[in-house]
C-alpha cells in the first residue's frame, strides 16, 4: 500500500503490526541521485578497499535524498505452507514543519531523475505529499525547544528573554513603544472588568511588540489571565488574552502539551518506522543494499560516522541482522548456477529449476504485485521481489539436507553464513563488506597503479602490457587506472623491457598494507 503524509498517521500502527508479526522484512530505497562526484564507475573502482568505498559513498552520495522507501514484511503461515506479505511504499520529503525547523537542501542528479521519470515515478507525490522525518539529534533538539518554551511559559519570569539585564521588576519599554503597551494594558483592564467577555484578540503586531506584551503581562498579571499567540490565515501572528481560573489554566496547559507531543510525533514522521524496524531486531533483506543502509542511517538516524568501523557499530544498532540477496546469489552454492545477479534477472532465474518459485500471497486488504507483467521501478515492488529471491534461495539450501526440506525459515542456521555481509559492487577481489568484524584483505601486489595522458584508451593499456598476457583494467579517472596482471610474479619483470611506449608513464604497486612506488620512464626503442 501507498503511504503518504496524509495517511501516515492512520496507518502507522498497521505498519508496526506488520513488522512485529513478520518472519523477515525486505527493504529498498529510491534516491534523487547516486554520485555527485566522479562517474559512478570511478566511484566504485574495482580495487577499492572497503574503507575507501565507504569514504567515497559517504562523500559523494549522502547529499541525495532517499525519497521513496519500500518495506515488505513476510510472515510464514505453517498451516497453509505459504508466506503472507504486506508491502508498503512510503513517499518521503523533509517538509519544514515550523519556522525554526531545518530547511533541508538535497541534490538531484539529472540522470537518476530521468531514469525514474522514464519508469513513471510520481515526483508530485514526493514533493506534495511526502512524509517528513527527523534524525535522532534533530528530534532531541525539537523536544528541547518545546520543553524550554514550556518551562519559560510556566515560570513567573520573562519569556524567552535572556538579556544582559533581565529583571523580575517592570520591563524597560522603549519610548516609542510606551503608547502601544499602555493601550494593550487598558484593553485588558476593560476585559477584566467586563463580565460578558471571556477573551480578547489583539491586533497583529511585531515580534518585538509581542515580547513586550508577554513581559508586561507576566509581571502585571501573574495569574488570572492566559496569554497565547495565534496565527491568522494570512500568517500574521496575534495575541489572544483570556480570563481563566487556576484549574482552567492547568487544563489548557495540558491540552497544549498534548498538542505539542503530537506535533513532535508528526515531525519525527517516517523515522518512527525506521525505529520500529530497528527495535524489532528482525532479519532485514535487501538487494545490493549498502547504499540503502547508509542512506537510511544517515537520513533517519544520525550523520554517518567518520570511519568504517564506527559505521559498522551504528549499523549493528539500527539493523542488527542484515542479508544482501546480491551477495547471497554471488556466493556458493548459488554462484555456479546464477549468471546474472541483477534483481530483475535474479528473480526470473529463481523461478526455474533447480529453484522453485515461493508461495507468497498478499495479506487481506493489501494490493498484490504481479511479477509477470513488469511493474514500474518502485521501492515497494523491488522490496517484494527481493523477498521472493531470498525465499527461493533459502529454500534451495534446504534441498541439501537429508532428508531435504522444502521450507527453510528466516531463523534457520543454513542462512546464517550470509548474515551481515553487504555486497561490494564491482570490487574484483573482496566480495563483501563484513559488518561483524574486520574485512578480508586480499593480496594486491600484482595490481599496478598506472597514470598516462588522457588521450589513452583501454586498448593502449592492452597493447602496453601485451607482454604480460591477460590483464584487467579498472579505470580510476581519465588519466589513471589499476591494471591487474594475471600472475603476481610478473611485477618483477623490468617494465623497460616491454615494447611500449612514446610517453613516459608511472607505475605504482598497490599493495593492501604498504605501497611500493616504482617510477619508470621508458624511452622509444
Amino acid at each position: 500500500m501507498e503511504v503518504i503524509r496524509s495517511n501516515f498517521k492512520d496507518n502507522l500502527s498497521k505498519v508496526c503490526e506488520a513488522i512485529e508479526e513478520a518472519d523477515f522484512l525486505a527493504i529498498d530505497g529510491e534516491f534523487s541521485g547516486i554520485s555527485d562526484g566522479p562517474s559512478v564507475s570511478a566511484l566504485t573502482n574495482g580495487f577499492d578497499t572497503p574503507e575507501e568505498r565507504y569514504q567515497k559513498l559517504k562523500k559523494h552520495s549522502m547529499d541525495f535524498l532517499l525519497f521513496q522507501f519500500g518495506l515488505c514484511t513476510f510472515k510464514y503461515d505453517h498451516t497453509e505452507d505459504k508466506y503472507i506479505m504486506k508491502s508498503f511504499n512510503f513517499y518521503i520529503f523533509p517538509k519544514p514543519f515550523n519556522r525554526s525547523s531545518p530547511d533541508v537542501k538535497f541534490v538531484c542528479q539529472s540522470s537518476s531523475i530521468d531514469f525514474l521519470a522514464n519508469q513513471g515515478f510520481d515526483f508530485n507525490k514526493v514533493f506534495r505529499n511526502g512524509i517528513p522525518y527527523l534524525n535522532q539529534e534533530e528530534e532531541r533538539q525539537l523536544r528541547e525547544q518545546y520543553d524550554e518554551k514550556r518551562s519559560q511559559a510556566n515560570g513567573a519570569g520573562s519569556l524567552s528573554y535572556i538579556s544582559p539585564n533581565t529583571t523580575k521588576c517592570p520591563v524597560t519599554i522603549p519610548e516609542d513603544q510606551k503608547k502601544f503597551i499602555e493601550k494593550v494594558v487598558e484593553q485588558i483592564e476593560e476585559l477584566l472588568k467586563n463580565e460578558e467577555n471571556e477573551s480578547l484578540e489583539l491586533e497583529p503586531c511585531t515580534g518585538f511588540q509581542r515580547k513586550l506584551i508577554y513581559q508586561t503581562l507576566s509581571w502585571k498579571y501573574p495569574k488570572g489571565i492566559h496569554v497565547e499567540t495565534l496565527e491568522s490565515d494570512k500568517k500574521e501572528r496575534y495575541i489572544v488574552i483570556s480570563k481563566v481560573d487556576d484549574e482552567e489554566r492547568k487544563r489548557r496547559e495540558q491540552q497544549k502539551q498534548a498538542k505539542e507531543q503530537e506535533e513532535l510525533n508528526d515531525a519525527v514522521g517516517f523515522s518512527r518506522v525506521v525505529h520500529a524496524i530497528a527495535n524489532s531486531g528482525k532479519l532485514v533483506i535487501g538487494h545490493n543494499m549498502l547504499l540503502d543502509v547508509m542512506h537510511t542511517i544517515h537520513q533517519f538516524y544520525c550523520p554517518l560516522p567518520d570511519d568504517l568501523s564506527e559505521f559498522k557499530e551504528v549499523t549493528s544498532c539500527v539493523f542488527p541482522r542484515l542479508l544482501d540477496t546480491k551477495l547471497m546469489a554471488s556466493t556458493q552454492p548459488f554462484k555456479e548456477i546464477i549468471n546474472n545477479t541483477s534483481l530483475a534477472e535474479l528473480e526470473k532465474r529463481l523461478k526455474e529449476v533447480p529453484f522453485s518459485p515461493p508461495k507468497v500471497e498478499s495479506a487481506e486488504g493489501f494490493p498484490s504485485y504481479d511479477t509477470s507483467s513488469e511493474q514500474l521501478h518502485e521501492a515497494g515492488y523491488d522490496a517484494y521481489i527481493t523477498g521472493l529471491c531470498f525465499i527461493s534461495m533459502a529454500n534451495f539450501l534446504g534441498s541439501f539436507l537429508s532428508p531435504p526440506k522444502n521450507h527453510v525459515s528466516a531463523r534457520s542456521k543454513l542462512i546464517e553464513p550470509f548474515f551481515n555481509k553487504l555486497f561490494l559492487m564491482r570490487v574484483m577481489d573482496i566480495p563483501y563488506l563484513n559488518l561483524e568484524g574486520p574485512d578480508l584483505q586480499p593480496k594486491r601486489d600484482h595490481v599496478l597503479h598506472v597514470t598516462f595522458p588522457k588521450e589513452w584508451k583501454t586498448s593502449d593499456l592492452y597493447q602496453l602490457f601485451s607482454a604480460f598476457g591477460n590483464i584487467q583494467v579498472s579505470w580510476i579517472d581519465d588519466t589513471s587506472a589499476f591494471v591487474s596482471l594475471s600472475q603476481p610474479e610478473q611485477v618483477q619483470i623490468d617494465i623497460r623491457g616491454t615494447d611500449a611506449c612514446l610517453i613516459s608513464f608511472h607505475l605504482q604497486v598497490k599493495a593492501a598494507v604498504e605501497s611500493l612506488f616504482v617510477c619508470c620512464r621508458a624511452h622509444v626503442k
Copy 2:
C-alpha cells in the same frame, strides 16, 4: 501556452515570431531553491554593497535549478488601442541527451519546493517532460565532438584511436581477441561474395571489440563497405556492415550529418529561446528580477563571472535593455502612491486611481489569464502580471505630459530613467544595481557592526542603544548585526556612557570606503 519537451520543436518558430513582433517582453523564473547557505534574510543583508550582494547570490543561489521560465510578449495594436499578448510557460530540465553529455546535479531547498507544491506546481512536468538546454561552452564542445567523430570517420586511418604507437598498418590485436576478429572478417568476406545480402548485423560486443573491428575494417576495406554502430532496445550496441558504392556512401554521410545537426539543436533546446530574446534586443521586463537574470545567464549562457563589473558586461550582451517593475514602483513618482510593491499587491493597486488597468488581450490561439481569480504561482502568469504592471505605470507617466498621453510606448523617453537598474532587495540605502556603470555609494558611517552572544534578541539591541533614539537592526547571523543609528554624529558618543550591559561587546563602524574598528568593553556599573 505550455511548452514542454514534446512540443518544443513544433512551437519554437511561434515563440521566435512572438519575440520578433513584440514591443516588449516580460519574463519570470521559478527555481528549485533560493539560498543554500545562510538564511534568506542573512543572504540579503540590509547593508550589503552591490558587489557583496552579487557575490552572495552567486555563491549561494546558483546551484539551484531554474525549472520553469515564463515569457510573455506584448505587442501594441494602434488601431484598436490595446496590447496583444502571447504567454509561454516553459518547463526546463537538463535531461542527459547521450552517454557523454553532462550529468547535471542541482540542489533543491525543501522550503521552496514545499512552497511551490502548495501552489499546485507540477513537478512531474518538469522532470518527465522538461526541455533540455546547453550553455554556449557546452554547445561548442558538443559541436566539436560531432565534428571530430565525423572527420575521423571520413579519414582513412583509425577511429578515435590516439595511441603512442598508432599505425597505418595492421592493428595489433590482443591474443584473446584474435579469434573474435577473424570470425568477423570471415562474415564480411561472406557478405561481399554473396550477391543477395546487402548488409550484416554483428552480435552485440564490448566497446573495445567494436574499436578493434573499426580499426581492422578501415585498414582492410578502405572502400566498399559502410560500418555503423546502432543501439538495440536493450541498450546493447552492435555493429551493422553494409555494401555501398561511393555515391551511396556520401548520401549516408550527409543524412547522418543532418541528423547530427538536429540532435545538436535538440540538445541546445531552451537556450535557443534565450538566444532569440538576446538577439531581438527587445526591452525585457521583470519583477525583482536580479535572481532571474543571474540564473538565466548562468544556466543558458555561461557560468557567472567572478566580479560584478564583468557580470554587468555579460548582462548587457544577453539583456541589452532591462526594466525591473519593483524598482520602478519604488521610485518617484510611484513611491509615494504605492505602499506595497510585492507583485500581487502592486497588480491590485495599479487597477485603482490614479492608475488605469491596461487594455490587454490574448492573441488568437493563446489561452488568457484571469487576474481576478488568482492563478497558481506559475512563471507564465507572473510574467503576464509583470507586463500589466509595467504598462499601467508607463501610461501613468504619460499623464504628466501636456497634453497628457494615454499610451506610453516601450520606446518612450519617459521610461528610459528606469532602464538597466535592478531592484536590490532589502538594501536600506542603495535602491538598485546599476547595470550601466558604477553603483551608488551611500555614506555608512552611522552603521555599526555589532557582535554579541547568541542569546541576544532584537530587544536587547534596542535596549542597549536606547540612548541613541531610533535605530534600525539588520541581522547578519545569530551573533552579529548591523545597527543603523538615525544620526551619523551619534557615533561620536562614548559607548561606555550608555546604561548597558553585563556582557562585553564589540562595535565596528562599517563605512563604505574604509572600516574603523571601535572595540569597547563596558563593565557593570
